[in-house]
């Protein structure tokens, strides 16, 4: 029954994709541009739930975005993008401001943007919700952890940016930013934090010597961001299609339970080193990152120290429309404690690592339509949320996605 339904939906989608589509011409002129995108995916997994109740398969995986740019003069631009998304039971297709800013470019080497600005972490964080801009549907989770999307998506503040070029040495794109994050109430991370705190409180109650100062249960959990700042530098040396990058970011959140402060989450330093090289029809991407973070809850430090994340992705474009990608993505929760045996932390059976082999293909029907599919074979359950897997996790698991996107 389910297979029949899936096949019918997918066949209808294919028929729609193959209809001749006139190229949208919304570049009204150099002053005003209106663009947008819409995508629909299907996510399925075996072994563990990933970002949603994916063990049962889910179509609750879509994005719709619309953006408008107004160029006031050669230096000044105003722009914004609204986004509606659904990922499992989150997002609910409510309309939110994805980014919105005023951009004044004094010179090629110096400009300023103010408003809600995307955080330039690594090579691909700024296009996180527009999967048609990259070879695979999911960004490598070790660096671009989808459960922490709200933390690293965008900030309210400003950034200085520019491009500094020297003919003999290539050019540098730089960004320096400062601002604050405004967290949405309905986020995976928010709800999983509430769930984790209540599990700790329940453990405390069950302890033979419980801490009498801890409440038995909390009803509400909130985070306020105190600050966020960082820098991003991309160097394009005098060599065709090579980009080298370094990103740095630091931020601090205060955590509240039922309106009382209970702790802090601080990113002491998060750096990502990046490399991207295109040679003929091959595109190589590799990034390495360490996030040194500290979390305290009820005066107990729940973790303190750097994680370690890296990936290598190779994409081969067989034609201008068709490409294949292979990804190896590795994450360690604690850089200096790589115990490779499965260990139980509390009742939640988890591994401190995640090793993901991903295989994807992408087909661009035309400039506007893209279809993609990928599957991943994973060893390790780090980054998986107990929230979605209350009965514990499997060490070896898989997930697969297909997605169709339209943009104009």
């Amino acid at each position: 029954m389910r297979l029949k339904k899936m096949t019918t939906i997918f066949s209808a989608l294919l028929a729609l994709l193959l209809l001749p589509m006139p190229l949208a011409a919304y570049d009204l002129n150099e002053k005003i541009q209106l663009h947008g995108f819409a995508s629909q995916g299907y996510l399925d997994s075996a072994g563990n739930n990933f970002l949603s109740d994916s063990l049962d398969g889910t179509f609750a995986f879509n994005e719709i975005g619309l953006n408008l740019n107004l160029r006031f003069n050669d230096q000044l631009r105003f722009g914004g993008q609204i986004l509606s998304r659904k990922m499992g039971s989150y997002g609910d297709n409510s309309i939110r401001l994805d980014w919105g800013l005023a951009d004044y470019r004094f010179q090629d080497w110096a400009g300023i943007r103010a408003g809600k600005v995307k955080i330039p972490l690594g090579l691909y964080n700024t296009e996180r919700d527009s999967d048609f801009l990259r070879p695979m549907i999911f960004l490598p989770q070790s660096i671009y952890d989808e459960t922490r999307r709200d933390t690293w998506l965008a900030h309210w503040g400003g950034e200085l940016y520019g491009n500094v070029a020297r003919e003999a040495f290539g050019d540098f794109d730089y960004k320096l930013f400062y601002g604050r994050i405004k967290y949405e109430g309905d986020s995976v991370y928010h709800d999983s934090t509430l769930d984790n705190i209540n599990r700790r409180l329940a453990d405390n109650l069950a302890d033979p010597n419980p801490d009498p100062l801890l409440p038995p249960h909390i009803n509400q959990c909130d985070r306020d961001n105190d600050y966020l700042y960082g820098a991003n530098l991309i160097y394009s040396p005098p060599m065709e299609n090579l980009r080298l990058g370094i990103s740095y970011v630091s931020q601090q959140d205060t955590t509240y339970a039922d309106n009382e402060k209970i702790g802090e989450y601080k990113t002491n330093s998060y750096f990502v080193l990046s490399l991207e090289y295109a040679w003929r029809n091959l595109l190589l991407s590799a990034e390495y990152g360490e996030n040194d973070r500290t979390q305290t809850l009820y005066d107990v430090t729940t973790f303190d120290g750097p994680n370690q994340a890296w990936y290598v992705m190779l994409t081969y474009s067989a034609t201008d429309r068709l490409s294949f990608s292979v990804l190896y993505d590795e994450y360690w929760k604690e850089k200096y404690n790589k115990d490779d045996t499965i260990h139980a932390s509390g009742r939640y059976n988890s591994t401190p690592w995640r090793k993901d082999w991903g295989f994807g293909l992408r087909y661009d029907v035309n400039e506007n339509w893209t279809v993609k599919g990928e599957w991943h074979m994973v060893d390790g359950s780090a980054l998986l949320l107990e929230f979605f897997n209350p009965e514990g996790t499997e060490r070896y698991w898989q997930y697969g996605v297909v997605k169709a996107s339209f943009n104009f």
Partner: protein
């Protein structure tokens, strides 16, 4: 992997089997307004202009860039001048739009449209087939 997902992946692979391959080539030149005093430009500078990293000529005038979307001309320009695949350059321009970092160059669909825009716009730059060159625009040599 669940059975519906396997079926979808199989259908996708079957569709990809018939994917067309493009292997066209044309000799491409850069063109500017006939009133421009420029005669040549380095490859690096040309690349930075079409990647929207360089937005001003040396005297400070804003550069008005136009991309020729004729499939043959566009593919040759990407491969010969930008050293990218057509898809890579398309995605580069779309990233600017959707991540809020800027407005990509205007897009026009033929040599004639590009020439008309460049001829009418001081400080404009575009690219066309070499055999489409006429006095309405001026060739900018890549040094």
């Amino acid at each position: 992997m669940r059975k519906p997902l396997k079926t979808i992946m199989l259908l996708l692979l079957l569709m990809l089997y018939g994917a067309p391959v493009s292997c066209l080539a044309a000799e491409i030149i850069l063109v500017v307004n006939p009133g421009s005093t420029l005669t040549g430009i380095t490859w690096r500078a040309a690349e930075r202009i079409f990647l929207s990293k360089k937005t001003e000529w040396s005297q400070g005038e804003h550069i008005h860039v136009v991309v020729n979307n004729n499939p043959e001309v566009y593919a040759s320009f990407c491969r010969e001048i930008l050293k990218k695949t057509p898809q890579q350059y398309l995605l580069y321009r779309k990233k600017m739009l959707f991540n809020g970092s800027g407005i990509p160059p205007l897009v026009m669909n033929s040599d004639q449209e590009v020439k008309a825009f460049v001829a009418a716009t001081k400080d404009a730059i575009g690219f066309i087939r070499k055999d489409s060159l006429d006095p309405s625009v001026k060739q900018l040599v890549i040094r």
